[in-house]
Symmetry: C2
């Protein structure tokens, strides 16, 4: 263990990258962080993730692993301390089910709402809020986190909601995180933001506002310029995997 080498290729604001950071820090794994310019990708990124050419990429003793969901499973299997997934197979299945659900319906839904206008935006917003209601229901009755008393797999998957979603709401002039509608999620966000691996380690809000403003405008203009290929952008999250 003494000689192991762990590197993480990331991008400063990326939700999937933060997942890997949080997981490594909960495990107490030391790693070297390498910031990637995702608009001018490095040879290293192309070599380590030739299929998707996206961050995050975790490199453990020379072995490269891509895709945040896959990386989290790898981390949990490789470093056994402070488990991320529950131990019981059925509870593990539920955590994976809700993680996939949240990714497809909330992260993608909110991003689609941010990058669209009019009726399309309205529909994306409604679907995102409907999905949030299901997550709110899952959280009710939990002690502190989705993972119980400590931050676990589903907390890490959903963690982006705490720092990114408020910025998307402001940039997109939309409301998703209504505290009256989602009291459990609101309380969870406060707890999550105060967790030692999260607190004081998030990007500055003003920098995020500028970035997502530019990014959503750029994507919206691509989408408007090519209406027939509308489906394309819908699946794109912020250039990271």
């Amino acid at each position: 263990m003494a000689t192991e080498e762990v590197k993480l290729l990331g991008f400063w604001v990326s939700p999937p990258v933060f997942r890997v950071k949080w997981a490594l820090e909960i495990k107490g794994v030391k790693y070297e962080y390498i910031e990637e310019d995702i608009f001018n990708k490095s040879t290293l990124l192309m070599e380590l993730n030739p299929v998707h050419k996206k961050v995050p990429v975790l490199v453990h003793d020379g072995k490269a692993i891509a895709e945040s969901f896959v990386i989290l499973e790898y981390i949990d299997e490789t470093w056994k301390q402070n488990p991320l997934l529950p131990q019981d197979p059925y509870q593990r299945a539920l955590a994976r089910f809700w993680a996939k659900f949240a990714e497809e319906k909330i992260l993608r839904g909110a991003w689609n709402a941010l990058c669209s206008q009019g009726e399309e935006k309205q529909k994306a917003l409604e679907q995102t809020i409907e999905a949030m209601e299901k997550i709110e229901g899952e959280l009710e009755g939990k002690e502190q986190f989705f993972g119980g008393e400590s931050v676990g797999y589903l907390d890490i998957i959903l963690g982006w909601i705490s720092y990114c979603l408020p910025v998307w709401e402001e940039v997109g002039s939309m409301q998703i995180l209504n505290p009256l509608k989602f009291p459990a999620i609101t309380a969870w966000i406060n707890r999550f933001l105060n967790h030692p691996v999260v607190k004081d380690k998030l990007p500055p809000t003003d920098k995020m506002l500028v970035y997502f403003h530019q990014r959503s405008k750029a994507l919206a203009s691509t989408s408007h310029g090519n209406r027939a290929e509308n489906g394309k952008n819908k699946n794109k999250t912020p250039r990271t995997g």
Copy 2:
């Protein structure tokens, strides 16, 4: 173990349902199969999978699990015999990575090609074939299956290619499975179709041809009737999860 009860809600042609069947049969788990009418969903399905209302649903001693990727992990964790995933964490990560890739790029790609026309179809076809090239590269040098000498996780995820994809090709008047271009995949398909858990247990081709002909026509007409919402159908696989 003697009293355990395993049920599977499925649909006769569904690729995700066949994954669960194959996994249970490789494990030697006895189960009751319940055919679902996905066009007139049962109260049981609505109760067991209220979020997505889709098959497959595995019910193990009263606990319901949905989503084929999640179910496969559950099966592998619950019944340890004949492991589906490799034992080494890095090899597990690779299997999960390629499974996700194949789902997003090949299953979805081929389905989009089937349900579209003209330039859109051509683009979907090209992307699917490009993804197949990567899978062909992964398979080269493997002994028998993606899982080595026996059928494993990635074989199960990709198994639909062996029985469903040829039908989609015929219905959509398109070629993806070119044996000259994909000799390793072609040989793998033959081995997979002759595996004891697969052989003589697949739906009749003529029945599949009729079903997918009707289904792709129905989806294509929905898509044409509402061009602006084009993105909708792109993510839909054949009504099952």
